[in-house]
Amino acid sequence: MRLNNAIIIGAGPAGLTAAATCAENGMNVLVIDEYMRTGGRLLGQLYEEPDGGWWNGIEESRNLYEKAVELGVEFHLNTPVNNLENEGGVWTIYTEQEIFQTEHLLLATGAAESPIPIPGWTLPGVMSVGAAQVMTNVHRVQPGDRGIIIGVNVLSAAIAMELSLANIEVVSLALPEKNLITQESANPKEVMKSLLHVSHMAPSKFARWGSRLMKNSFMQTLGVNFYPKSGVKMWNIPVQLRKAVTEIYGDDKVEGVKLATINAKGEIVPGSEENITLDFVCIAGGLYPLAELAAVAGCPFYLVEELGGYVPLHNERMETPLQGLYVAGNITGIEGAKVAASQGRTAGLSMVCHATENQLEDEINYSMEQTSKTREEAHIQFHPEIDKGRTKILNQWKSYHLEE
């Protein structure tokens, strides 16, 4: 068993930035990640920024990693953490290989993908859209020759573009069939609403529709009602808000999907089903904060839809109500890599503050301001009301401490 100054679980943008921040300030830092490479979800990201430059997640990850290594940060990759315990202010971190201890533990475990159940989704060739992204951009392996993405959201739109950059044919972005689980992700009007804030990403008709016509609910209904049956093209891929996949078929692997026309409420138009031949299917249910370790640690939670689900209670300094436990990145709510990295810096500074005699008030305040600024300038926003979500969790933090 070893005692470390600071332990960080998760080597994505938040964890790596926090690690470098702690190390810069003299802490002895260990980063643990279950994946074999550092970078987390950042690894798969590849897109053009509004200024014309390219955001290459692999390069960004390498830079963050190399900086941390130079500062003496130690890494344990391929190391899943299966439990956490606290006794007398010391956190014990259990992995299969080793047990670690620290008084300053940061959970930067990121996000996981929500499932969308569809008949036939257990066939080989069906994968989450994030898996297709990692196969393509990280491992450079084609997920297939011709596929469909089920679920229309910010993440799936961005990954569709990445797949098309790699010359992989995506025949359509369509919705799942409505049921008790798919709910709003199967409702054309709700999906249209959630897409309005990404309209600037699409150099097409979609953008103009989004920004001008769709301001109010009436226009949204109209937009969905008159939505062209063939879809609107984004990067040459039809986005079909009036089509739903009702089944994935194939004997031993994916051979195709049944695609039906749906009305504005998401109900299937009888007799409209057609078979589309394919060899892979991506399921895009969106992201939710991966908070299982915070839960076994006993951290209080709050369900905030705008942040993507249950998030551990935390303040702007990235502290949780549990002593020595900090959070940063997507575990605190679904946002982009730049916001995650900025939160990581704040968390690192908070850890330094608690662990050493250093007074870093100015730096912490500056870092918190930078996070808000990064959020405002974000190129991709996962939830249109992210600010409302952030306010909710901070208010919950306040009322939790008033009750104590």
Partner: protein, 90 residues
């Protein structure tokens, strides 16, 4: 393929129809739905189906308690060897 046969919990092979009908019949919480059907109780520890079981159960509940995770997480949150749980290597 019959839509009701749609698999929700892969580990325990619990389908959509079973979950929907159980939730409807007992008007139960997600925890009760899990215990009645075994959905989420397989070797992956509910990592794939937790959210779906929750959604099916929440479809008949009224107000949800926002401060409480309805389907509890238990360690180990990742698969580990039996010997590491306290067994003998032999």
């Amino acid at each position: 393929m019959n839509k009701d046969e749609l698999i929700i919990c892969r580990c325990e092979e619990v389908n959509y129809q079973t979950l929907r009908d159980t939730a409807h019949k007992y008007q139960c919480t997600s925890r009760e739905l899990k215990l009645r059907t075994r959905a989420g109780m397989g070797y992956c520890g509910g990592r794939s189906c937790r959210l779906m079981v929750d959604k099916i159960a929440n479809s008949n509940e009224g107000e949800q308690d926002l401060t409480y995770i309805s389907l509890k997480y238990q360690p180990p949150v990742r698969p580990i060897k039996f010997e590491d749980l306290g067994g003998d290597k032999n």
